[in-house]
Amino acid sequence: MPSARPDQIRQPPLRDGIILIVVLAVIFLVAPKVYGNQSLLLVMMTFVALAQGLNLLYGFTGYLPFGYVGFFGAGAYGMSILVLHAHVPAIPAVIGGGIVAVIFGVILGPLLRLSGAYFSIANLATAQILLLAVANPSLTPLTGGPYGLKLQQVFAPGAAYLTMLVIMLLATVIAVYFRRSRFGLGLRAMTDDRVSAEMAGINIVRARLIVWLISAAIAGLAGGAYAWSISVYYPDAVFGTNISVFAIVFALAGGVGTVIGPIVGAILLYALYNAIGITVPQYFELLYGFLIVILVLFLPEGGLSLLRRRGVDVL
């Protein structure tokens, strides 16, 4: 569980947050004009959004959701069902996907009574249950069951890309708010010492539920935009445990409890993942695994800890 350090408690200036958001927006608006593989950029933004959503929960409350992908899948299916059955246009349907994920967040709220590994395992189990439920052949008329779903009528990769960009920026704005606000400070106090925080007047139950639901909404929105972008998918594609694992690894690699950490972690590691996969696919597992081991051994607090050690205040 991450503990707040004195340099993290200091509130960074708003200007840094605004610069970060503008830089991020410019990078991903310009990137498709320079590099034609828009799918790669979209998946990269998806992982930035997921890593950031996970960071809100784990970095600010200490709850590590191994089944975070459950919200992602719920958002993907929520969006798709709205398009296919209610004929809702794609963008409102993506928002609907976020709402569906929040509804599941409310239903699964009691999981927050657990902590540590118990919470993580229970959360993973719920994601698997959701996967089995949507893949059940009895639900084929609604979810497509094992046959998956096809959203060809709204397929628009360009619009899906911009939507994912907005979702990623939204996640970053929320992370900046958490880093700068009394609410965020309260969350970190709660993570460090729950009893003291409660004694200081922080409503722990309400605060962690709010973060849980915000985190669910980000994953749900990202899931909706992702489903829109790929347009043909099977349940495994949006409920695969590897999506959670990637989000966790990217967030931890950059450094949780910060705004910039999950962004740097997701962009660098996902770019590296693809660079290795494209240039030397035969050594892919070996090289990527080796990199992760090095990271865990020498930078357990994430890449940004290198800067912190040199006294740089990281957003």
Binding site: L40, P146, Y234, A237
Partner: protein, 416 residues
């Protein structure tokens, strides 16, 4: 003065027009590429690794073969051009596959795009190929979802659509008057579409399955399910799963002490050696399956090696016994070769037109190549075969349809 300017402008416009016409002309008579770049993906890890690597190996075998002879004949350039395969590892992940297919199209600018094994890893390529106006050569992605509308950008080449796989099986069961049929299947498109087709066809013949149950694709414990299924007293038990499911199911059946007169599973007919190795001859004896090449052979082919020659050449080149997926990968290459030799222009639409022209008059080592306007393969229908003991091993006996039968069905199967 004004007329002078107009005169000059006219000359400039004429020159621009001439350059444009000349450049268009150059475009039409494009010089032949030094190599035909075929882009594909394979999975070295994950649930599809075994099948995917086999299929990739088959495609590589074909490419090595044609390159030894100077390349493939490309009618659009009236010459032979060597083939290069650009392949990336998607690790059985659809999100990785999405970016890598896009990489092949937008960065590597491959001439021909070939999908990875199976429906799951093919699914993300279907919209991408259509978006970029690339013809997707689909060796084994047989999900019914792909073939719902007319398209110029998809062609399934080595397997029939999974929804038509069980047609001969259903007719076989009805023909043998099997009244009590139990069906257990994986919750995925490949297995569930087979189960639904079988159920619909049986019901059309007034037979309702006595047991019809889906299990998670990752299911590995069939013990309880088998006992539940046995309580419905079936005459035939049909299990639709991936190779891992089939292995778990057959192992559970062997250790349960249960006996059914007729048992059908999918993958003994595709990955015969793998199933023998994991399940054993005794357990596989009398099991029914869809036999695919090389277990069933096609002697007379119009293109490529026939089944027996392929098996021998593949063994010589790789030291491995060929399985169906090796055959499927090789067959994709053979179809590409004929497509390039038929297409009069070097364009994706011309490639598709060539495939449509080939459809119905091409036979390869997996059978008759025939695609419909939605890109679905409808020619290579799968017969029903029984694995019957022979010496210390098993032989494949095709039992249905009767015109392709190579022996008689043993029913009920003797107790193991």
């Amino acid at each position: 003065m004004r007329s002078l300017i107009r005169g000059r402008m006219a000359w400039v416009l004429a020159a621009v027009a001439a350059i444009l016409v000349a450049s268009l002309g150059t475009g039409r008579a494009a010089s032949p590429p030094s190599e035909i770049n075929i882009g594909t993906l394979y999975a070295s890890t994950g649930p599809f690794a075994v099948s995917s690597e086999s299929e990739y190996r088959g495609l590589q075998f074909w490419a090595e073969g044609v390159n030894k002879e100077g390349g493939v004949f490309v009618k659009a350039f009236d010459k032979k051009i060597p083939v290069k395969i650009t392949a990336f590892d998607d690790q059985s992940s659809t999100s990785t596959a999405t970016t890598l297919y896009n990489q092949l199209i937008t960065q590597n600018k491959v001439d021909i795009l070939v999908a990875d094994f199976g429906s799951v890893l093919t699914s993300v390529a279907v919209p991408l190929a259509a978006e970029h106006h690339m013809l997707l050569i689909d060796p084994t992605g047989s999900g019914a979802n792909f073939f719902t509308q007319k398209t110029d950008y998809l062609a399934e080449v080595s397997l029939p659509a999974s929804s038509v796989w069980p047609v001969p099986l259903a007719l076989f069961l009805l023909d043998h008057k099997i009244q009590r049929v139990a069906v257990i299947f994986g919750s995925n498109d490949f297995d569930a579409s087979q189960a639904e087709t079988l159920k619909a066809l049986l019901e059309k013949g007034k037979v309702s399955p006595v047991y019809f149950h889906a299990v998670p694709t990752t299911e590995s414990n069939y013990q309880v399910l088998l006992h539940t299924l046995a309580a419905s007293h079936p005459d035939a038990v049909i299990e639709f799963g991936y190779a891992g499911n089939d292995i778990s199911f057959l192992r559970a059946l062997a250790s349960s002490g249960l006996h059914f007169d007729m048992v059908f599973t999918v993958f003994p007919g595709q990955l015969f050696d793998l199933l023998i190795k994991n399940v054993g001859v005794k357990t596989l004896s009398y099991t029914l399956t869809y036999p695919t090449a090389p277990l069933v052979t096609y002697e007379k082919v119009t293109n490529g090696l026939n089944t027996a020659d392929f098996v021998a050449a593949f063994k010589k080149a790789t030291g491995r016994d060929a399985n169906f997926l090796d055959v499927a990968g090789y067959n994709a290459g053979v179809i590409i070769e004929k497509m390039l030799g038929t297409a009069t222009e070097f364009s994706q639409l011309a490639f598709h037109s060539a495939l449509m022209e080939m459809s119905g008059n091409t036979t390869t080592l997996v059978g008759d190549f025939k695609i419909n306007e939605n890109g679905a393969q409808v020619g290579e229908l799968l017969p029903v075969a029984q694995l019957q003991p022979e010496g210390r091993g098993l032989k494949i006996v095709v039992v249905y349809p009767s015109d392709k039968a190579t022996g008689k069905l043993v029913n009920p199967a003797p107790r193991r």
